[in-house]
Amino acid sequence: METHHFHFKTRRHNYPQVVCANHRVTTSKSNVNPSVLRLHNYGNPTADLAKERAVSADETKRPSTGKFGRFGGKFVPETLISCLEQLEVVFHQVLQDPEFQEELSTALNDYVGRETPLYYAERLTAHYKAQNMGRGPDIYIKREDLAHCGAHKMNNALAQAMIAKRMGLTAVVAATGAGAATGAGQHGIATAAACAKFGLSCTIFMGTADMEKQPSSVDLMNLLGAKVRPTAGSFKDATSDSIRDWTEKLGEVYYLAGTAVGPHPCPTMVREFQSVIGRETRRQAAEKWGGTPDAVVACVGSGSNALGIFHEFVRDPTVRLIGVEAAGFGLNTGKHAATLAAGEVGVYHGAMSYLLQDEEGQITCPHSVGVGMEYPGVAPELSFLKETGRMEFYSASDEEAVEAYRRVARLEGILPALEASHAFAYLEKLCPTMPDGAKIIISCSGRGEKDTETVFNYPIS
């Protein structure tokens, strides 16, 4: 495997060349190969899906390495490699299969409620213009909060449940946070719902710390017929446990990745299924103002909703892609989840990407008021977009996010999930810099009814 050619060094020790998790890779500028920074592995994200799928068709002939530049890959035990390769083959098959696409499209429309609207936020726009003598950008909100189960997670869960059925598997396993990388247990809930719909049995691993934080998520999953298995710790431990479970039951169980992290092909699959968001957005923007957005803003926990909306616009140089991470109590407090801002490159959960690690290469515990942001890693594809400079990334603190939640509630009657509130918070800094009439699209990745209590209890400064 390609990975064996890398030397892993940490500041203090020379580790042997063994593929496993949590290695910190320090790269000096001379180590970075410019040729690696080409936009490799990108299909054409425009509506020319046939072409993209033709590219995929080639890839069915040989499994790919799943790299985005130097990020991504398949850093997994040997036992999982053949499983991942098989998954990749099926993935490319379904991309080409008109019946599958038709069934998926119907389910996305009738079950999930797509397409979600692109909503002109009149009062939010006026609010920012009023602060700047009546001049400012026009703000549009992509309403993923209106999807069934209240978040974008469903787009992916549905498609993967269908893949599981196609592979003849009747059981699904997944990991969820109180949200970590998944939005307040949203991935667990979405997976449980999709499994109920398709008659698959569903086991969700959840960290006990998270189960305490969001007991209502556990109730919802139980109600939907899923079994929730507790793991000591939080999302990262739940993920490890669920992967372990998968390894034990290969061939019987389907591992449903909730976000664009993990070993190839998971990041690509999740991004592909979420990219419906961006495709719709392009079409809706064209209808509404005959053009493309000037900036697209999305919160970044692990990155699935951001990739879902960004992917379509990666090749449009006039579209700024802005990711907003969680600064928690502040970037200098160590209690945050701003992986791209403060992380370093390493391998985690099977992929190379930025991650929050200490000097020993141990994963640090992230914090955010938006539990879906509390993932110490980030999608490898986003790491790639950061490194190539295609994407800008900033962060918002807990306080700014809660402020934004209240602001959007008061001005638009929409309760955005606390995760999405981070993106809304960034508007405070962004709008004054944008020219009059510029078009900003902000991804409202989930609804915030689940966060009302947190906001209720949040101390007001």
């Binding site: 409620g113 309403r143 109730d219 109600l223 939907l224 008061r410 009657g413």
Partner: protein
């Protein structure tokens, strides 16, 4: 337009009947009312509404329907010819405007404003745009495959079940369709202040939501008992910028909140619009709320045509006040081949006295400005209803439902708390959709309905709201 035609078709003088008991003192226009008067729960055997010069409109209600001396209009079996409502806001003998004099002008003004926007392309375009981009319409008509399989008989036959997904609307229920329409209407009327009543909070949240969206002052009346049970909803309304006022009179629940809201409206009628949450209340509300919800049925007709090239055979909806049901039914009332089925709450059971099955166990009277069936005791006092679902916990019902029942156009059944909880769990497990407990009543009725339906019957059930709000209640009872 329907109203003008109705006025021509119905002669008001046919309504004159005798009053069999001396009437209570006529309702004057002074602004201090005791809650008993404002409940408009008049003694069962008579009502004496306002009379206007030259026109006497009065009705007799007796236990024995056959003793009623005259019917209010010529009997007619073609639903397309029914006046729904007529010029006086009546659906047959139901409906009307049993309100204090100070409100008459406001109601008339509201009615004219509503009639003017009905055909106003600008208003309809603005409303349509908001429904699409803000609320998320149109909502899908979803083929519930596993639910259909569940009801398939051993020989493979059974009806096809479709769910109209009003649960996917912004705020998670159908309520917002009406809230948006009314707030746009209020803006057109130049009103800056909006009031509403709420029980568990759904309508309150919907109202607060639209007021935030349009920047209007919002005051929600809520029973103090309900406020305690629904603290999070109270907070939500406050987050959305609304003021929530607790009502402590009576049983401190929905009907008291409604009375308080009406009292506020009487006092502040020039500046204030009252967003009534259901197809109840005085004319023009039952008609207006129905009109704002009828998009549900209109979409359903189009979607049914796309999906199977025909109409639904049976429409099923839960009935509390009746707005989601009227929204689904309205477009199909004149289609006699479409069965309309409403499902009310039987609570602990019809014999327990703890239920909200107004159309099954109620008797005709006047509540909150309209004549309709209602749950009342021998003294004409309102009986406190019970249902595990707050939205169905209303002692009255929209007058149009009373009318459709008496005409035999719609059928009404009821379902207990327990059956509703079972359905809540069943649909969650079979379809991954958690329905509101209110909706679960309609879903529960499928158990009795489906075995009677021929193979391939198309059933459309209004999934009027999502059940996230009910998970804690359900878990308690279901012991999962």
């Amino acid at each position: 337009m329907a109203i003008a035609a109705a006025a021509a078709a119905t002669s008001p003088t046919t309504a004159r009947t005798t009053a069999t008991l001396s009437p209570p003192p006529p309702i004057s226009s002074s602004s201090s009312y005791s809650s008993a008067q404002l409940n408009f729960g008049l003694p069962k055997s008579t009502a004496r509404p306002r009379t206007t010069a030259g026109l006497s409109i009065s009705c007799t209600m007796t236990r024995d329907a056959a003793a009623a001396v005259a019917v209010t209009e010529k009997d007619d079996s073609d639903p397309a010819l029914w006046s729904r409502p007529d010029a006086f806001g009546r659906f047959g003998k139901f409906g009307g405007k049993y309100v204090p004099e100070t409100l008459m002008y406001a109601l008339t003004e509201l009615e004219s404003a509503f009639n003017s926007i009905r055909n106003d392309p600008d208003f309809q375009a603005e409303l349509g745009g908001i429904l699409k981009d803000y609320v998320g319409r149109e909502t899908p008509l979803y083929f519930a495959e596993r639910l259909t399989d569940h009801y398939r008989r051993p020989n493979g036959e059974g009806p096809h079940i479709y769910l109209k997904r009003e649960d996917l609307n912004h705020t998670g229920a159908h309520k917002i369709n009406n809230a948006i329409g009314q707030v746009l209407l209020a803006k057109r009327l130049g009103k800056k202040r909006i009031i509403a009543e709420t029980g568990a909070g759904q309508h309150g949240v919907a109202t607060a939501t639209v007021c935030a969206r349009f920047g209007l002052e919002c005051i929600i009346y809520m029973g103090a008992q309900d406020m305690e049970r629904q603290a999070l909803n109270v907070f939500r309304m406050r987050l959305l910028g609304a003021e929530v006022r607790g009502v402590h009179s009576g049983t401190a629940t929905l009907k008291d909140a409604t009375s308080e809201a009406i009292r506020d409206w009487v006092t502040n009628v020039e500046s204030t619009h009252y967003i009534l949450g259901s197809v109840a209340g005085p004319h023009p509300y039952p008609m207006m709320v129905r009109e704002f919800h009828k998009v549900i049925g209109e979409e359903t007709r189009r979607q049914a045509m796309e999906k199977w090239g025909g109409k639904p055979d049976v429409l099923v909806a839960c009935v509390g006040g009746g707005s989601n049901a009227m929204g689904l039914f309205e477009d199909f009332v004149k289609d006699k081949d479409v069965r309309l089925i409403g499902v009310e709450a039987a609570g602990f059971g019809l014999d327990s006295g703890k239920h909200a099955a107004t159309l099954t166990k109620g008797e005709v009277g006047v509540l909150h400005g309209a004549m309709s069936y209602l749950l009342q005791d021998d003294d004409g006092q309102i009986i406190e209803p019970h249902s595990i679902s707050a939205g169905l916990d209303y002692p009255g019902v929209g007058p149009e439902h009373s009318f459709l029942k008496d005409k035999g156009r719609a059928e009404y059944y009821c379902v207990t708390d327990e059956e509703a909880l079972e359905a809540f769990k069943r649909v969650s497990r079979l379809e991954g959709i958690i329905p509101a407990l209110e909706t679960s009543h309609a879903l529960a009725y499928l158990e009795k309905l489906c075995p009677t339906l021929p193979d391939g019957t198309k059933v459309v059930l209004n999934c009027s709201g999502r059940g996230d709000k009910d998970v804690q209640t359900a878990i308690k009872y279901l012991k999962l």
